[in-house]
Amino acid sequence: MINAVNRDIPDELLKDGKEVYQGKNYMDGKYVKKDSPKSRRYVKPQESKICESIREACERCGAHDGMTFSFHTEFRDGDYVASMVAKVLVEEMGLKDINVAATSLGSAQDIFADYMEQGKIIGAQTSGVRGRIGETISAGKLATPAIIRSHGGRPRAVEAGEVHIDIAFLAAASSDCCGNASGINGKSNFGSMGFGIHDAHYADHTVIVTDTLVEFPNSPASVSMIDVDCVCVVDRIGNVDKINTKEARLTDNPRELMMAENVAAVIASTPYFKDGFSFQTGVGGPSLAVNRFLEDHMRERGITMSFALGGTSTPICQLYDKGLVKHLMDTQDYDQGAASHIFKHKNHHEVDLSTYANAANKGAYVNKLDFVVLSALEVDTSFNVNVITGSDGVLRGAPGGHPDAAAGSKCCIIVTPLTRGRMATVCDDVVTVTTPGDCVDVLVTDYGTAVNPLRPDLIKCLDDAGIKHVTIEALRDKAYRLVGTPDKLEWEDQVVAIVEARDGTILDVVKKIKPFELD
């Protein structure tokens, strides 16, 4: 069945009430019956929940074949906990038919790829897949298609019972013996624990894995002991230096800085840029750099930002310190500057993924966003964005909060170079739709800016401000002229991943790529 972004969704996926994507507000006003965890009662007072080993914690929580285990990825590429736990489950305990529900999956979890190959892990639900796991899923090694959900889509699915977490293994920088856990006060501080909090409320069992045991009570705590079954103390939960991966780096590249400057100019040209505006940036080099250029515009107008949302980095913390941002609503910290800023400053708040971006609750922060600046692997002439598959059709990216912030915000700006190597970023049809074009308003590239024709009001803003812009077709033509028009990818029939829209409908599917044969 063809959906609203013109993607053909196989009928066999449309069962148990699953529908195809029908526009960004299709689910508005509908009701949802919330799922609830089956929670163990600890009536008899316990002195401590500390387990000798991860295995002991798994056994206490009744880990067995076919369960769904969840992990958060606040450590990004530096996470040790997911692999550590998976090793125990698979190699020590010999479990199989495992489902993984992670906020993301990347090189830190490469070992999962082995378990997928061996058929131990049979399902994966995540906001993103990079590295070997992406290649393994793309090769069709999972028994069931992986489900790609946005950061807002994940808590939606959890609350709707579409994914029921049996045991959540949550890395925490510090914990006391009863499981009051936090992203700070330890030796591997990652700051906000926003990715993990919601799981603790909905999982049947929650295990805190920490490398720093602190005195009781560890307060304030991000995850409360009332939700925690077990606490495990390990040598190291992660490498904080690897949180700041290349996706989250601060750029000094003149091309990216130029794009960032142009994005800031677009922002300043709209009526939403007024005192009390709100703002979010994604994790790409140019999007992060926008923070630097916003300051000049804000000072020129004499305005401040009411809140900055989402992943938080040092530049936005610096704006807060200068009094230009009133609140930081922080789901994850991209660097140590931000991780050591949260909780130390009154209005730098931790928010969980549902509060941040869930489209099925009664109102998340993304709905109050004026601007979001995001990157893209590809954008097509309908402004659909792909951030999940590479030009070879293999899974290698993460929507994260991309679709949520794009849908919720009043002005969504995508910033990306026009070409990457021999690949055209602006193209006829993206390989996979991860953010629908009706949520995307402006595209800024190094070769020019295009405004979605759905937004004539923004076109007028740019014209009035003297900002040059062209049609997205002109950018596509330029890209194809530079690097050539690529052949269409060829797919087999097997669906390897389902891309769920934030409202739970099916936005797109990723199929197994047909092996390339030379003529």
Binding site: P254, R255, M258, D446, Y447, L482
Partner: protein
């Protein structure tokens, strides 16, 4: 294949950005940053055994990439090297807008280059006289001969001082405030203005020292330069902002031009505007300011 418009001797050249001609990744879209001119370098940036590769890359770039309104100048190797003749053939064949003559010291140097340019234009069927020239003055002798150099050819649109080599031959190093180059800059500026050509300052090498860069650009403007060589896109914005006429200057220029039109009708020559005596040269300068403001894209009036 790209056909570039006929180069203009007199045009806006606030920034002339150097790029290594050997690096396709750099030069493939050097225009996107918005510098007025780019200088594709065949000289110092290119290793001795890579000159041929650099020429090839330059030729392909200029033939195939639409640089639009961005001027494309090529810095050729010095006349004391075995490379400059082939460099000239490559530039002319590619259809680039002009040549920057490195280490230019005399009118004779200009004549030699001009001769070879003309020969190459004939060889490749390029319109004769199309390829412009500018001189890089890199030695005390070059500065002393600045006037004869910039008047040596009709193709000559301007000159630039090259600080690195110049300072070495003067036994000085970069000083805050630029006193070590003050006389040379001044003398070159006088020669250029006397000849009616443009004049450009040397590049500022320390890309990370934005404050030092700003000071130098401000001084350049106060001294009367038309523009500056730059080595990073990061330097473009400040030069453009600094060289554009200020709102105040534009407003005053407008007032002068309007009052001149009125006074001329009633036959008055010298009179006062805002309490200052003004006459014909003031109006010419006012017209220049407005033309510059228009070229810089900062003019919003209706003159």
């Amino acid at each position: 294949m790209i056909t570039r418009p006929t180069p203009l001797k007199n045009r806006l050249r606030r920034t002339m950005m150097f790029m290594n001609a050997q690096k396709p990744g750099l030069i493939k879209d050097a225009y996107i940053y918005g510098s007025d001119s780019i200088i594709l370098d065949l000289e110092d940036a290119v290793a001795e055994n890579q000159k041929d590769a650099a020429r090839f890359s330059l030729y392909q770039a200029v033939r195939n990439i639409d640089y639009g309104n961005t001027e494309v100048i090529v810095r050729i190797n010095g006349l004391d090297t075995p490379h400059w003749q082939e460099d000239i053939r490559c530039v002319v064949a590619s259809g680039a807008d002009g040549i920057r003559i490195a280490k230019c010291e005399s009118a004779q140097d200009v004549h030699i280059v001009e001769e070879h340019v003309l020969a190459a234009e004939k060889e490749f069927g390029v319109e004769e006289g199309r390829t412009l020239l500018m001189a890089a003055l890199e030695s005390p002798l070059g500065i002393m001969n600045a006037y004869e150099i910039v008047t040596a050819s009709d193709r000559m649109f301007g000159c630039a001082i090259s600080g690195g080599d110049f300072r070495k031959s003067m036994h000085v190093r970069i000083e805050e405030g630029g006193i070590e180059m003050l006389v040379a800059r001044g003398q070159m500026l006088m020669a250029a203005r006397a000849a009616g050509v443009q004049c450009f300052d040397t590049m500022f090498p320390n890309i990370d020292d934005m404050e030092g860069f700003r000071q130098e650009v401000i001084q350049n403007r106060k001294m009367g330069f038309d523009g500056k060589s730059i080595v990073s896109p990061k330097q473009i914005r400040f030069v453009h902002d600094t060289f554009a006429p200020t709102k105040k200057e534009i407003a005053y220029a407008e007032k002068l031009v309007r009052s001149f039109n009125e006074q001329a009708d009633s036959g008055v020559g010298v009179y006062t505007v805002d309490g200052k005596m003004v006459d014909i040269p003031f109006f010419e300068d006012a017209r220049r300011v407005i033309a510059l403001a228009k070229a810089c894209g900062v003019y919003e009036g209706d003159l």
